[in-house]
């Protein structure tokens, strides 16, 4: 679909009409993540990030590096859903939530330290994170998962 060389640092940002607390809940509660994160049921605690596929396969199992609800979450990333990607070096994902005027929050997802994981970088760029963020926005603003 794309010919670009995927970047070692990727930044995605979206305004969501929701409070920081609602966004935090939506990114750390498996009942929510299952509705917009490719079906992944993600559990986040102060030290552990765990992601399960709808069939119960382990898609993610990483350390939480920073845990500051409802503002900031940093965790490791290995793409365990694909053996070829899983063999690459771990990278890092940072979620930042900033409250804005008018009931909006600004969510910024930075996926970096991808220098040792070029295939993962390619796989999460373009549609990858974008579908997650647009799905999250739709879910929080309408209560419904993104169609399709």
């Amino acid at each position: 679909m794309t010919t670009m060389t995927a970047q070692a640092t990727q930044v995605y940002q979206v305004f969501i009409k929701a409070t920081p607390e609602q966004i935090w809940e939506a990114i750390t509660n498996p009942e929510f993540t299952g509705k917009y994160f490719y079906g992944a049921r993600i559990t986040v605690t102060s030290d552990h990030y765990h992601s399960l596929s709808p069939d119960g396969d382990v898609w993610g199992d990483d350390r939480v590096l920073e845990y500051d609800p409802p503002r900031r979450l940093v965790h490791g990333w290995r793409s365990l859903y694909n053996p070829e990607l899983a063999a690459e070096e771990p990278s890092r994902v940072t979620w930042e939530i900033e409250e804005q005027d008018g009931g909006y929050s600004l969510l910024t997802v930075t996926h970096d330290q991808l220098e040792g994981a070029p295939k993962t970088a390619e796989s999460v760029s373009g549609q990858g994170w974008m579908m997650v963020l647009s799905g999250l926005k739709t879910l929080l603003e309408t209560g419904k998962p993104l169609a399709g």
């Binding site: 970047q7 940002q13 979206v14 579908m131």
Partner: protein, 105 residues
């Protein structure tokens, strides 16, 4: 996020050129981006500012450098809102026709 700001930002060839440069390689400084444009530093800054206001470019500090990153999410949202809406009914009409024809065959 304001759709108008996204459409306005995309309605200029210099700004689309800047987005394409960032698509090729992200995380560039103003100096790097400016070197690809035939305009003053001030002109380049002005265009980047419009892209930033529309949310299409996000800046990050790295030491003393200010790096510019392409944020594709607003384009996705405009796509979902304005493009899917008009293309989907036709696609589903064709899918229905196909089902109908196959049923009667």
């Amino acid at each position: 996020m304001d759709d108008d700001a996204v459409f306005r930002a995309l309605a200029d060839p210099t700004r689309r050129f800047l987005l394409d440069r960032l698509f090729e390689r992200d995380g560039r400084t103003l100096t790097e981006l400016e070197s690809e444009l035939e305009m003053t530093r001030f002109g380049a800054m002005k265009h980047l500012r419009v892209l930033e206001d529309a949310g299409l470019v996000v800046t990050r500090r790295s030491g003393r450098k200010k790096l510019h990153y392409l944020n594709p999410v607003p384009i996705r949202l405009v796509h979902d809102r304005w493009i899917d809406k008009y293309t989907e009914p036709r696609v589903s009409a064709l899918a229905e026709l196909k089902a109908l024809l196959e049923e009667s065959a």
